[in-house]
């Protein structure tokens, strides 16, 4: 078996003194797609943001390792340059900063050197075409006035340009109509290779029809309560989160 690409090790995360993630462990190997599924309030967004190093979240204990290296001491920008990517659930709009300027800076940062204009244009047009996005799109300000679908596509555009080692996708499927979901999913699939890994964090299983997960985990109360293969997602679709919640309660009572 290949060595792990991304490890979350007994992670505990708090927001304003309230612990939300309660000892979560997960290992992604190169080429793998993992899905974490959980209902509202299970800690999905806290997990996603803390992996990227959002200052609002405090890591109480545990570790996060990218290609064997702990990223806990790394600032968000260092994590990104090392190859970690977060597709935001709610991408922030930044009026006055053009997408094209932003994308070029981000790509140059990821590479560690200025990307030549010509090459940038070429790669950009290729990825834009794949996502069926108009070239004019990058003339707009970052996420400013974007529709929900446009925001998610812009996240996938960045994924395609930055070529991270590990992509954490925070509810990328939410708010997308079926066509947009298909295009976004294709973007994720095109990005996916044997050298990278994807962590899909989602409430619903519908994106999993387009992006096939190798492993599915159920997140409840900041813990993984069940892991399995793709069939676990189907079970969730059929039975909902209820059965897992009951079991989680039992566990809390007996512990």
């Amino acid at each position: 078996m290949t060595s792990p690409l991304f490890e979350i090790d007994s992670l505990e995360v708090a927001v304003e003194d309230k612990q939300i993630v309660n000892g979560l462990s997960l290992t992604l190997r190169p080429g793998e797609v993992h899905a974490i599924m959980g209902p509202n309030g299970s800690g999905k967004s806290t997990l996603a943001n803390s992996l990227m190093g959002h200052p609002r979240y405090t890591i109480n204990s545990g570790d996060i390792r990218l290609a064997g290296e702990s990223v806990l001491e790394m600032a968000p920008d260092e994590r990104a340059r090392a190859g970690l990517f977060l597709a935001f659930q709610y991408p922030t709009d930044i009026p006055g900063v053009s997408m094209i300027n932003f994308l070029r800076r981000a790509m140059s940062a990821r590479r560690g050197e200025e990307i030549p204009v010509r090459e940038f244009r070429q790669v950009l047009n290729e990825v834009l075409g794949r996502l069926q996005m108009d070239e004019q799109f990058v003339r707009r300000y970052v996420n400013d006035g974007f529709s929900g679908g446009e925001k998610k596509r812009a996240e996938i555009l960045q994924l395609g340009l930055l070529q991270p080692l590990v992509a954490v996708m925070d509810e990328t499927d939410s708010g997308l109509d079926i066509d947009a979901l298909r295009i976004v999913s294709e973007g994720v699939n095109t990005f996916h290779s044997d050298d990278n890994a994807i962590l899909l964090i989602t409430h619903y299983q519908r994106i999993l029809r387009y992006v096939q997960p190798d492993h599915v985990h159920v997140l409840l109360d900041g813990r993984i309560v069940e892991s399995g293969d793709a069939s676990l997602a189907e079970r969730l679709e059929r039975d909902g989160y209820e059965p897992f919640m009951e079991r989680a309660e039992e566990r809390v009572l007996t512990s």
């Binding site: 920008d77 922030t92 930044i94 900063v97 940062a109 960045q158």
Partner: protein, 453 residues
């Protein structure tokens, strides 16, 4: 807390008889027509009869008045150099291409020219002193025609000016490119009084960019220089007048400006100012919309550092029916710099169907920085649309996180957000070269390692 300094006898330096003699000598030495001498002397009498301020006025209450000299010195008379080009380094704001340009240093003329396309239409841009001789009828008609001076600085501005520019677009003239008026502050010469007069006759279109820089930015001056700029903008019916002012005065300067605009029927005036230099910069902008269907816009941008105080006192004054006005001020404050925006929308009973808006936004980059935006509405008409918004706060941490999550270091990310924040105003400046200059000045002003103290 600053009361002690305010007790200093304010008018110690105002010696009416001496001033009258000096103004007469100034006018004579410049070879001015008699009516202009009379204009200066009448303005001087108005000034003498006024107070600098009482401190009770809303428009003065928040000004650190101890940093603004109460002084009316007659500037150096630059000999016979009116119209004769002198040799000075090119102004750093000077564009490669332009429709017309006047460059002055300490009242002397460094450059003055106008492209044929504009000249053929009867357009004028020239030093005000030259215009007073060569276009006497126009100057006599328009100088100060905007109304009586509102306070002592404005009145002294009319009496004491030693440099200035006159821009004129005759009826129907269209100048596509911007005209430039560049001033180099001669820091060794102390106080400066400038006078800018722009007249856009009916259906004409003209844009003036006013740029002020200092000849020696590093000099340690024994006394803070005072710069007062009088700006009078006249847009006759159907005319479109654009005025943009960018200043980077010497950092010890106390700058105060009085910009007044009169918007004709279905005419427009757009004023954009960008402030970078000076210790104190107090900008008064008063746009009068007494005709129907007029449009007025005020855009203010600034980046403060050190202990700078940057202040905008504005009035959008509606009297005509169906006129529109909009104010947007965006500033960035670092170190211990402070900003004040006191913006008044005043709608007279006749001003029905008015649409008037104002937005003031201040980004604070350091704990010591502060801003006090005060939007005010005085509305006496009942069928109007008005809005105002004011904000003071740090850079949005979510915006920073988003950029950082893409590998962009925090310092660069902050710059991007700040420049984006300012770009809405910078992008509206009607000249690409000037937009680049503003961009550079923003960058310089944000540089924490800069030499300014």
């Amino acid at each position: 807390m600053t009361q002690a300094t305010l007790e200093v006898p304010a008018d110690a330096e105002i010696k009416p008889d001496e001033l009258r003699a000096q103004v007469a000598e100034l006018s004579r030495s410049k070879g001015e027509p008699d009516w202009l001498l009379a204009f200066r002397l009448a303005s001087l009498e108005q000034a003498i009869g006024m107070e600098w301020w009482t401190g009770q006025e809303e428009s003065w209450r928040r000004t650190p008045r101890e940093r603004l000299p109460r002084r009316a010195r007659v500037g150096r008379v630059a000999g016979s150099a009116n119209g004769t080009a002198i040799s000075v380094p090119q102004h750093v704001f000077a564009p490669d291409a332009h429709a017309g340009l006047v460059h002055q240093i300490d009242g002397r003329v460094a450059a003055s020219n106008l492209v044929e396309q504009a000249r053929a239409q009867g357009v004028i841009i020239k030093p005000l002193a030259a215009a007073a001789r060569e276009n006497s009828d126009l100057i006599q008609k328009w100088l100060g025609a905007i109304g009586a001076p509102a306070d002592r600085y404005e009145a002294f501005g009319r009496a004491l000016w030693t440099q200035g520019v006159f821009v004129y677009a005759p009826r129907g003239a269209i100048v596509d490119e911007s005209l430039f008026y560049l001033i180099t502050q001669d820091v060794a010469q102390g106080d400066h009084w400038h006078y800018t007069l722009v007249v856009a006759e009916r259906e004409s279109q003209v844009s003036l960019i006013d740029g002020g820089d200092a000849d020696d930015r590093r000099a340690e001056l024994p006394e803070a220089p005072l710069i007062h700029a009088t700006v009078e903008l006249i847009a006759e019916d159907g005319a479109n007048l654009q005025f943009a002012s960018v200043q980077r005065w010497h950092r010890q300067t106390a700058a105060i400006s009085t910009t007044r605009g009169r918007v004709g029927r279905d005419a427009s005036i757009r004023v954009t100012t960008a402030a970078f230099g000076a210790d104190l910069d107090k900008q008064r902008i008063d746009l009068d919309l007494s005709q129907n269907g007029g449009f007025a816009e005020i855009r203010g941008l600034f980046v403060g550092d050190g202990k700078q105080h940057i202040e905008h006192v504005t009035r959008q004054h509606h009297k005509g029916v169906g006129a529109t006005s909009d104010l947007l001020i965006r500033g960035v404050l670092t170190d211990e710099s402070q900003a004040v925006q006191y913006g008044l929308i005043r709608i007279e009973p006749e001003g029905q169907k008015t649409s008037a808006h104002q937005t003031m936004r201040n980004l604070l980059l350091d704990d010591g920085a502060g801003a006090d935006p005060i939007p005010m509405l005085e509305i006496e008409a009942d069928d109007v649309k008005c809005s105002h918004a004011a904000a003071v706060g740090p850079v949005d941490p979510d915006q920073l996180f988003y950029l950082q999550a893409r590998g962009i270091p925090p310092r660069v990310a902050e710059r991007m957000v700040v420049r984006g924040f300012l770009s809405e105003i910078a992008d509206g400046v009607p000249d690409e070269h000037m937009r680049e200059v503003i961009d550079e000045l923003v960058e310089i002003q944000l540089e924490p390692a800069k030499a300014a103290t």
